[in-house]
């Protein structure tokens, strides 16, 4: 088998699996800080029970994120050595900054949150929850900086020629705030909030349906729903801004997202569709000119299509179109679900809406799916480039690692991760079934 394909498969497997956990840590971190803040302010023991329960879930999830995260830092060098040589001068510094500025902070204060409630005062304990959430966001920021630089490189120059060519920083802040950093950071973070919020919503709905831990579940549901609504509505804006950025900075990716083939024509928006890549067309339901309208306010404005790019420079259209459209559909569903919840909350009848609680039961899967699909659209849409317009994916792979070794490690990770996934799911389910500790008098 081809080493490039195997290396890509392994990266896709390890990053997708890793990315099940950090969004939950980020989202739950925000909710935990809010719960602990209210506990500090009101002294209500219910908030403390909530924060204790969700801190356990956060701890379990964080451990999974740590265990699978170290793989990612190694993999640039093990599987993408040529890429590492090319980008190290630029890409290495945000990665090192992530470790120095965020990982230490997160690990230290998470230890206080998990084990130190009786060892520090209430204010310091609350501050620790805030710092855990802050560290998680900071870590996301630096990793998004690194990834965004691959999408929209800035603040660098190329030195050397041919195989010895490499990128060098000329302007650090232009590299950090490259054209896509801010849009992609906000979009990613808000997606992470949705993950955390809907997990809380799902578990709370489960308790309400089972008529267990009702006071706990009602309060948790409100926390979850408040963040879910805020995040889901914000996603309209952050998603829109990200798309505008893609259309401007990565036109081939944008054309793939909408499967817009014509070289320069007004672009429709497909509400639902299927790409026929062979005949370069889409079957489905489209609103003519809507994509042009969303980009520029003018439905007749021409948009650069895939045929403007030579075939070897086009991303795989069907996969990008499909993943992006599925992500957007899920996003819309999440807005609907959170609006319904807040509507009945305002009317005071939320806890009696059994049908809605039943809908909430599996809702934690939706943001997870949307996060995965969104990243697939972003990363597959960047193809065939590893660093946009600078380095092709096929040029970035390690030359000294034989295909057999990658196949071995790919199988190893598949086995280990399948096992870890089952254990994590089992322990999470056991934690939920066990429920929060009962109120102490």
């Amino acid at each position: 088998m081809d080493t490039v394909l195997l290396a890509r498969l392994q990266f896709a497997l390890t990053i997708s699996f890793h990315y099940l956990f950090p969004p939950l840590t980020i989202g739950l971190g925000v909710l935990l800080a809010a719960m602990e803040g209210l506990h500090l302010k009101t002294g209500d023991a219910l908030y403390r029970r909530m924060s204790e329960f969700w801190a356990r879930v956060l701890g379990l999830t964080f451990a999974m994120g740590v265990a699978t995260g170290i793989v990612m830092e190694f993999e640039f060098g093990t599987n993408w050595a040529a890429y590492s040589r090319f980008v190290g001068d630029v890409f290495g510094s945000p990665l090192a900054a992530e470790a120095v500025l965020a990982f230490f902070l997160e690990s230290v204060f998470l230890a206080v949150v998990l084990f130190g409630r009786d060892k520090v005062g209430p204010v310091l304990y609350f501050l620790s929850t805030v710092l855990v959430a802050f560290g998680a966001h900071l870590s996301a920021f630096w990793i998004i900086v690194a990834n965004s630089w691959q999408q929209t490189p800035a603040g660098f120059r190329i030195v050397g020629e041919g195989a010895a060519a490499r990128a060098e920083i000329v302007d650090f802040w232009a590299m950090v705030f490259n054209p896509s950093t801010v849009d992609r950071f906000t979009h990613t973070i808000v997606g992470a909030w949705q993950s955390g919020a809907f997990l809380v919503v799902s578990v709370s709905a489960f308790y309400l349906l089972m008529r267990r831990h009702e006071a706990f579940a009602k309060a948790s549901l409100k926390f979850g729903l408040a963040l879910a609504l805020l995040a889901s509505l914000s996603q309209l804006e952050t998603g829109h801004m990200s798309t505008l950025g893609v259309a401007k900075n990565q036109p081939a990716k944008f054309a793939a997202i909408e499967a817009h083939y014509e070289k320069s024509a007004p672009a429709p928006l497909h509400l639902i569709g299927w790409v026929d890549a062979k005949n370069e067309r889409v079957r489905g339901l489209a609103v003519p000119g809507l994509a042009s309208f969303l980009l520029s306010g003018d439905p007749h404005r021409p948009v650069t299509g895939l045929r403007a790019f030579p075939p070897q420079d086009r991303p795989p259209v069907a996969a990008v179109f499909l993943t992006h459209h599925m992500m957007v559909s899920i996003g819309m569903a999440l807005i609907g679900l959170s609006l319904l919840g807040v509507f009945f909350w305002r009317r005071g009848t939320l806890y009696e809406q059994t049908w809605l609680l039943l809908l909430y039961l599996p809702s934690f899967l939706l943001p997870q799916a949307a996060n995965q699909l969104g990243w697939q659209a972003a990363e597959v849409g960047r193809q065939p480039w590893l660093v946009y317009n600078l380095l092709r994916t096929s040029e970035g792979v390690s030359k000294v690692v034989p295909a057999g070794h990658i196949l071995f490690s790919l199988l190893l990770f598949t086995l280990v991760y399948a096992g870890l996934f089952l254990v994590y799911a089992y322990l999470l389910a056991a934690k939920v079934l066990h429920g929060p500790e009962e109120a102490r008098s």
Binding site: V66, T78, A81, S84, G92, F104, I169, V416, V423
Partner: protein
């Protein structure tokens, strides 16, 4: 030697790795000793002794990796792709260690607990040995082609010297971990930990002598470095003094002083190897002209300077948080509802 940015980053990377060995070293050592504790409660004490700190300690390895990537990209690329299979096994070992700590306490079934106990011990032992073998290869040198790529094969990495270094790392960390445990345990378990420390010391002392002798006799460039910079001799001397003092404190039952001696020992060894290897990061054997050094394999001066600012802002904060967390969790372990 002049202190330029390249040299600064060479020694900062060495410092990060020394910090890793100093801190996660005892976590790995506790893991290696874990199965010698037989009672469930004792094993829980062991896990909780490192529970609040092991993850932050592992971050030193991540930071060292990130620093090498940023400051010396060709080194990161050559070593990580060249040591591919060994590093994949290291990753699996570190994953096993991490999840075992978290998973073990979550269910009471004996079979469940003994499975994760074994995963914890095996992961820790394997990680210690692999890190030692990888380090031993860097000390001895590995084949590097004219293109800067690793030119050897997996089995070439299993030369006796790196294998000895792997065994040395395990013995050192087991000793360091046992000494750490003497600070965190009480009663019968404390006596047990002291017993482990004494046994680990005997084993360690033998391997230490063998490793130092082999390094001086079979690694010519270390000998040359000592000849050129006689001050460097202070480092192995300090290491020997630390070992002698460690034994003395161990006999007197002064746990904290013994642990401090093993910390000093690790720092002295780090200084010895860093000084002896400078400026080569990947020494090429047999074609020394292909070596990757702090000068021919670094990032641009601008990046090294930016990174120094990040480290200068970040590391004092890191030291402050670390001091804070060790202070909060100081003293003997007591098992509570939040414990593993």
């Amino acid at each position: 030697m002049s202190l330029d940015l390249n040299a600064v980053w060479f020694f900062l990377v060495a410092l990060l790795l020394a910090g890793y060995a100093l801190l996660d070293g005892f976590d790995l050592g506790v893991g290696a000793l874990h199965l010698f504790a037989e009672k469930d409660e004792d094993r829980r004490v062991l896990l909780n002794a490192i529970g609040p700190v092991w993850d932050g300690n592992e971050v030193w390895l991540l930071t060292a990796g990130g620093a090498v990537f940023a400051a010396f990209p060709p080194v990161y690329a050559t070593v990580f792709s060249g040591f591919y299979l060994a590093l994949m096994l290291l990753l699996v070992a570190l994953i096993a260690r991490a999840v075992a700590i978290e998973f073990r306490s979550k269910q009471p079934m004996p079979l469940w607990r003994s499975f994760w106990d074994r995963a914890f011990a095996a992961g820790s032992i394997l990680a210690a040995v692999l890190l030692g073998v990888a380090f031993g290869n860097l000390v001895r040198g590995v084949p590097v082609g004219a293109d800067g790529e690793f030119a050897g094969a997996f089995f070439g990495l299993l030369h006796p010297y790196p294998l000895l270094m792997g065994f040395f790392a395990l013995a050192l960390f087991a000793l360091h971990g046992a000494l750490y445990l003497t600070l965190k345990t009480e009663g019968a378990l404390l006596e047990k930990a002291r017993g482990w420390a004494r046994k680990a010391f005997d084993l360690f002392a033998a391997v230490f002598i063998a490793m130092m002798a082999c390094t001086l006799f079979f690694i010519p460039r270390i000998g040359r470095a000592l000849g050129e910079h006689p001050l460097l001799l202070l480092a192995p001397l300090a290491a020997i003094l630390a070992v002698a003092n460690l034994r003395r404190e161990l006999c007197r039952g002064r746990d904290f002083q013994a642990f401090l001696s093993s910390c000093a020992l690790i720092l002295a060894l780090a200084a010895f190897f860093a000084g002896g290897m400078f400026p080569a990061l990947v020494y090429s054997l047999p074609e020394a002209q292909n070596s990757l050094s702090a000068y021919n394999a670094s990032s641009s001066q601008k990046t090294l300077a930016i990174m120094l600012v990040i480290a200068g802002l970040g590391m004092p904060l890191v030291i402050a948080y670390k001091a804070f967390v060790y202070w909060v969790f100081r003293g003997k372990v007591t098992l509570g509802p939040a414990s593993y």
